[in-house]
């Protein structure tokens, strides 16, 4: 490795990195510009929701429960943990797993120059993420706790001090994370189970927090935390090092702690950050080149599986291949199988929260409508994966054209697989909501008729959305694959499928909810009297059947002609 660093090379590599991440921005079509603007708006909306959530949490702890310092410790714990996790992901992705490492090694640039350029990018990324999380947390805390002006100056210093720590930890942990990833690389089932567990755990955590926030928003007079819970918060805040030091430095001086505590906190944090940064520097500079070489060499590490020659039916073999191509990909397993299995859990929590909120504000009659809305939304999320069913064939797409199997049969195999997974998810979701809301103990919020009709309508819509998703990919597939032939990013078909699904869910859910309270009249004839859910379901079943029939027709009519037109 050449020891001398050329800053010109570093600059060029950094520019290359930035271009790869964000595009050049030159020659963007108006359509692409609109897409980018919409994507930015969506990100801003999500960020606004996050900031609002932080504000309500701060109010809950600081104003209502009088635990400002405890809040600060927990906020700093959350901030440092999240930024560290993001930084680990960023470092692993950009430094070690980046597909361009092999390419860059061919250029007359040294390993140190590649490391430096990529590290600069990661560092900037880390600082931006830190600021995006720390600024709202610290500012909101300052506003809510009516902190003195000095607090905001200290806040700036803490933000500078807090930025390097997650990055240093990430650099140290990236190597063991890489080793772990290599270990589980071909353990597809294990990975799938872990993914499902992680999704469920994350979602439950999120919904529990959201439930608390919504409860607080709904009833300001309700007592927030029991004395036991408050004691637990205090114990946590007292022992949560090193996060407590950040809180002491930031707000300890006006929360009853001495200046000495703040000074010592600064010293400890400075020393820890410096020590970890130095360690990260040595570990990374000494191992980076070696590890990316190993990465390049082991990129194609695969598993070996001895099977006998098995004869399957044409349809069976198409199904089998489609399933294994999904199962043997981390991305696809996560996007599809893990989401499908975790959906009932998510449906339960969403429905529980929505039903609780809805009952308290509007009444129990909206529960069936809400359940329908939630189940269809999650089905739409799962089913949107089918909108890449052709695109995912990637470079092997030609194969679907040369085999002596009709295009209809090939598409039917895909439909059966995605339909079966979607159906399984709907069945499980229905069972879960029936068990949770349809029992005497739960107050029979859902009757047998509700449950049966919700299942039938959701199932028909799920199948219809699957047909439409596949049809959209037949119309305009995007064979944009990398590496092992996996898709680079979500296609526009996926986004459209998702939007259509959510719209259908909203219309069906709202229809059911609204006409639980308001009679539906055509002229002077009352079509649906209040409380006649049979009629609501009959209409929705009819509409669903029409949508399903139209979707099946949209997929299969003239399919051969449309499929033959696809030119890879």
């Amino acid at each position: 490795m050449n020891d001398k660093i050329s800053w010109l090379s570093v600059k060029s590599l950094l520019r290359l990195e930035m271009r790869a991440r964000f595009g050049s921005g030159v020659d963007m079509t108006p359509k692409a510009k609109v897409g980018k603007a919409l994507s930015m708006l969506f990100t801003l909306a999500i960020y606004a929701i996050l900031v609002t959530g932080i504000y309500y949490l701060a109010e809950m702890f600081v104003r209502r429960s009088h635990m400002p310092f405890e809040f600060l410790v927990m906020a700093m714990t959350f901030t440092v943990c999240v930024t560290t996790l993001v930084a680990i992901g960023n470092v692993v992705k950009n430094l070690y797993l980046s597909g361009d490492n092999e390419l860059l090694l061919r250029f007359p640039v040294s390993g140190k120059e590649i490391l430096l350029s990529k590290s600069l990018y990661c560092m900037v990324h880390n600082i931006v993420i830190n600021l995006l999380i720390l600024i709202p947390v610290c500012v909101i805390y300052g506003v809510v706790s009516s902190a003195p002006v000095g607090y905001y100056f200290v806040m700036l210093a803490v933000m500078v001090l807090a930025a390097p720590l997650p990055y240093a930890i990430a650099n140290l942990l990236a190597i063991p994370v890489m080793m772990l990833m290599n270990l589980v690389k071909n353990q597809f089932l294990l990975v799938l189970i872990l993914l499902i567990a992680a999704i469920c755990a994350g979602f439950i955590l999120y919904m529990t927090a959201l439930s608390g926030v919504l409860e607080y928003m709904r009833d300001e007079s309700a007592s927030l935390f029991s004395p036991t819970v408050m004691e637990k918060f205090r114990n946590f805040a007292g022992a949560a090092y090193p996060f407590k030091w950040y809180a002491l430095l930031l707000g300890g001086w006006f929360s009853g702690y001495s200046s000495l505590d703040a000074g010592l906190s600064f010293l400890y944090l400075f020393l820890i950050t410096a020590a970890l940064s130095v360690a990260a520097y040595f570990v990374t500079t000494r191992n980076y080149y070696k590890i990316i070489l190993v990465g390049v060499e082991t990129e194609k590490v695969s598993f070996q599986k001895k099977i006998p020659n098995i004869k399957r039916s044409v349809f069976g073999t198409l199904l089998n291949r489609e399933f294994f191509l999904i199962l043997r990909s981390f991305n696809y397993s996560f996007q599809y199988l893990a989401m499908a299995v975790a959906a009932p859990v998510m449906v339960y929590y969403c429905n529980d929260l929505a039903a609780t909120m809805g009952q308290n504000t509007v009444g129990a009659a909206i529960v069936p409508g809400l359940t329908l809305l939630v189940i269809i939304i999650f089905s739409a999320i799962i089913v949107s994966f089918a909108s890449t069913s052709i695109s995912r064939e990637g470079n092997a797409f030609y194969h679907t054209k040369i085999i002596p199997v009709s295009y209809s049969t090939q598409i039917l195999a895909k439909l059966v697989l995605y339909g079966a997974v979607g159906t399984a998810s709907v069945v499980l979701s229905t069972i879960v909501v029936a068990a949770a809301f349809g029992t005497d103990a739960a107050g029979n919020l859902l009757t047998d008729l509700d449950i049966g009709c919700i299942f039938i309508i959701s199932e028909m819509i799920t199948l219809a959305l699957t047909c439409l998703a596949i049809a959209s990919d037949v119309k305009s597939p995007t064979f944009n694959v990398v590496g092992d032939g996996e898709m680079v990013s979500a296609s526009k078909n996926m986004i459209i499928s998702l939007i259509v699904g959510i719209l259908v869910a909203a219309v069906f859910g709202m229809f059911t909810m609204v006409f639980s309270f308001v009679p539906l009249q055509v002229g002077s004839t009352v079509v649906i009297p209040i409380g006649e859910s049979n009629n609501i379901y009959a209409i929705l079943c009819g509409v669903s059947a029409v949508i399903l029939a139209a979707s099946v027709a949209a997929l299969f009519v003239n399919l051969d002609k449309r499929y033959q037109k696809i030119a890879p």
Partner: protein, 320 residues
């Protein structure tokens, strides 16, 4: 076996005709070479006749079945090896071959026997149970070839089949092409390697700028064989006397600036003893391939010079 009539293909959003009014017919038992420069229309023609691309005019019949009207029957008789050897990389080699065998309705016994034979022939037994993503370029090419042959197609279509293959595998494929056509099947392949085409093919067609500009016999016609390069250069419009002479002369000692004149060896003459599979390119006689293949104890060899049916008239109704 394959009848292409007035084939025309224009790519969408392109004003250029990629393939224009191409007609040719392949007879049972022949190896047919398809030559042309880069972008001449070779791969487009192959993609049309394998059903990958739709076309705008003309017709294609495989074993008497129109690829547009009876695509399943036509494809059932065809095996295709693409130039980019793309396969489902998440599957193991055996899974992939079984998948293809299922699609072509090959019985368990037949697929097992054939696979065993091909694994020995192409030296791929060590990797057959590994995921294809770990395969090298050549190994992927071999698994594509095995998958294309697992149903013993009557028409075997290969697009640049020798790209990236080691010399031994190339020799094996050449020998197998001959064996395949000796059984009355047909091999259709595109190539840029004129020497290979000259030695292997019974007939050759040359495409230039989307037009088929020549189609002639090589088997039994020494003059055509000898003039293949010159003819190719001339009819593709790339012939310049000086350049062609350079092309021909470049193997001669005085044209090898990379070697001292005294160390350059004369090309091996056809009568010289064949010793190494690496040497066949450009020098060795077809008989020497045969000798090589014959040395392989697993190789069930058929006479390479099996003449195609000179009197073939396109097949009878019964045959079709």
């Amino acid at each position: 076996m394959l009848k292409v009539t007035n084939l025309k293909k224009v790519y969408p959003k392109s004003d250029r005709v990629a393939v224009d009014d191409i007609s040719f017919e392949l007879r049972p038992g022949e190896i047919f070479g398809f030559l042309g420069q880069n972008g001449a229309g070779k791969s487009t023609t192959i993609k049309c006749l394998t059903g990958i691309l739709p076309f705008d005019g003309g017709s294609i019949e495989v074993c008497g079945y129109d690829i547009q009207k009876e695509p399943i029957k036509a494809k059932m008789n065809m095996g295709y090896v693409p130039d980019n050897h793309s396969v489902y990389e998440k599957l193991t080699g055996r899974e992939y071959v079984n998948y293809v065998a299922d699609l072509y309705r090959v019985s368990k016994q037949d697929r097992t026997e054939r696979l065993e034979r091909y694994l020995d022939l192409f030296k791929l037994r060590f990797a057959i149970d590994k995921q294809i993503k770990a395969y090298s370029h050549g190994m992927k090419q071999k698994i594509c070839i095995i998958a294309a042959l697992i149903h013993e197609p009557r028409l075997w279509v290969l697009d640049e089949p020798m790209m990236g293959l080691d010399p031994q595998s190339t020799a094996e494929i050449i020998a197998y092409m001959r064996e395949h056509c000796a059984k009355g099947n047909t091999v259709f392949f595109s190539s840029h390697n004129l020497d290979l085409v000259k030695r292997l093919c019974h007939r050759v067609a040359i495409i230039n700028d989307g037009h088929l500009i020549d189609c002639f016999d090589l088997a039994g016609n020494e003059e055509n064989k000898a003039n293949l390069e010159e003819r190719f250069f001339k009819i593709t419009g790339t012939y310049e006397k000086r350049l062609f002479e350079d092309y021909v002369a470049q193997e001669q000692a005085e044209m090898r600036p990379d070697m001292p004149v005294e160390s350059v060896e004369e090309p091996v003459k056809q009568s010289d003893t064949y010793t190494d599979a690496n040497d066949y390119y450009g020098y060795a006689a077809p008989e020497q391939f045969d000798t090589y293949a014959g040395n392989n104890e697993n190789y069930d060899y058929a006479a390479p010079e099996q003449p195609y049916d000179q009197n073939y008239d396109g097949g009878t109704e019964d045959e079709q």
